[in-house]
Amino acid sequence: MALINGGHLVGKYLKEIENVDVVFGISGGHLESLLDGFTEYKIRTIDVRHEQAAAMMAHAWSVYTGRPGVCFLTAGPGFTNGLTGIANAYLDNAPLVVLCGRAPLRDDLKGALQEMNQIEVVRPITKWAATCYDIKRIPEYLSIAFRNALLGRPGPVMLELPPDILNIQIEESLVPMPARPNPKYTVHPDEADLKAAAEIINNAKKPLFLGGSGIGFSGCSGPLGKLVEKTGVPFMLLNYGRGELPDNHPLSVMDIGNLGLFFSIARFDVIIAAGLRFNWLLQFGQIIPKTTKIVRIDIDPLEINRNVEATVGLVGDAGSVLGQLVPFVNENDHGEWIQTLKGAGRSVLDNEHRIRETATDPIHPVRLVAQIQKFVGDDAIYIADGGDTQYFGLGFTTRQKAGVVASAAGLLGCLGTGLPFGMAAKLARPDKKVVVLNGDGSFGFNAMEFDTMVRHNIPVVCVINNDCAWGMIKHSQEVSIGKDRLQCSELGVRRYEKMVEGLGGHSEFVTKDEEIIPALERAFASGKPACINVMTDPTVTSPATHLFYQSLKI
């Protein structure tokens, strides 16, 4: 007879059924058996300094590995601290599994420590949330949680595990593990719809393929490559789709940037939008003329006609749909159109291209990005976190999947995600250089995670684009309420790198252009988590600021 407690049952399920290798969180009394279960089943724990970072890391783990990320939150404040990360995963459709402690069931309604109705709080920002009341059903509940996180449109789930079931024991043979899940339940479009979409693509003169996070979560570089290479359609990959095909692919028009896309978007006669929402970042699709034919591919049928009416809608996993579409499309060549598009992009970005090549004092953020790229190259993972900073960071180029992520550019606009994403990226792909370009404002939200990086030896290099302000807000205020009435938008010169040094990381302070690359060399050579605090031109405003400002103007 072998006894097992509830916490160990969780560890056993995670390891043996879901192949979970690493989880993110902070310890807590309510979770003691669970933590011991991680030890028992050799699951690596990354204990952070604030639970929001744990949720954000688990979210990012799903982006960089294609598998669900798992975080653990202790009851009460551990749970509430994690809410921002859960909300961010919800709006980003990321498969995040949250294991959460709670006050003992036996003490409900008595005023127990950290007693609160967590499930009702989290329900609106999860696909599924439940409490497990029976130790025997722990594997079953976990199985339901993972299925909900992964199947259909992905998203976060939360399973609440009270100490009443974590801390008691049961005969192990009475709790069989569910069969290893291998979900292949995909929805397929009708052949008639596939043919209709193919006809539109075959007749297109000025097409564009726009891929979003659904491309990344689908992991569909194979069928995507086949489709664009057969049809000759130029492509841009946004959000977590970035890098699914490399930026330097001959059909990529990533170099026209967001500005080039906005400038050109009314010129396309056909847009194939896959795994991409026409949300505020694309001005709800209002910038697309009614005459443009839209082939919309999404795993969620409700997305097909959202904001923009699709000419043809294809529902299903992006990779699956693209694979089915390939036999119906014709071989084509849109080389001339691609050159026209790139020419227009070059003219719109002419200024940025010149700045990239020019040393200035103070340092221009676009130049900073160019210098980082020059040193680090494109076989690396870049994360940009901030307001203006995320726009500048999208100027990195990559041949890594999800190789350029503006982590704060999701629907939650969640500043502070950069360092957790950077840590998860480095853990997921330890052989790749990982650079986080952080705004100085956003750096403050999770700066203590440098302690986590030092303890767990996660050598991420964080470059702070330090304009001494909440730049996007400051520049919006300058345009709207005037330079003489700025409110809560300035930060001042701060030596953030010294804080990192105090935590055991490598530090650099940069004020001149010629210091950037030597500082990067030393930072990577140190092998430590590193912070390079770069003072940049505080007057520079990104185009994203004005998009942001206009979006809030009523």
Partner: protein, 119 residues
């Protein structure tokens, strides 16, 4: 010459709209001190448009400081494309390198969208 005249009339139209066109008033009303230049590449011809809390002012010439500039390869091209009021022509000009943006590119789009409101 025709390019400079076109820019002058554009200024007058926008100035009038800022006073009398409700949609345009709302569009430019909350903008503080944004300077948009339209000029030729050699800077010999141009006009600066200044938007400040609902007012539109202007100065002739292509040498003033600005937030954003729409730069035409030459006056003839600038006149041809601007007078066509065609986004397609503007796109073609950009693709051919005959029109470039400098400074805060977003404001060029903002300026053009404003012009569409009054034309």
């Amino acid at each position: 010459m025709r390019f400079s005249v076109l820019l002058f009339f554009l200024y007058r139209i926008l100035q009038w709209a800022a006073k009398h066109n409700a949609a345009y008033q709302n569009y430019v009303g909350s903008i503080h001190d944004v300077k948009i230049m339209i000029k030729t590449a050699d800077g010999k011809r141009g006009r600066l448009f200044i938007f400040d809390r609902g007012a539109v002012r202007s100065r002739s010439g292509g040498k003033h400081s600005y937030n954003t500039a729409i730069i035409w390869s030459d006056a003839k091209t600038g006149f041809r494309v601007m007078s066509s009021q065609s986004d397609e022509e503007q796109f073609k000009a950009a693709a051919a390198g005959e029109m470039k943006l400098d400074g805060m590119a977003f404001f060029a789009q903002w300026f053009n969208d404003g012009v569409k409101l009054v034309m």
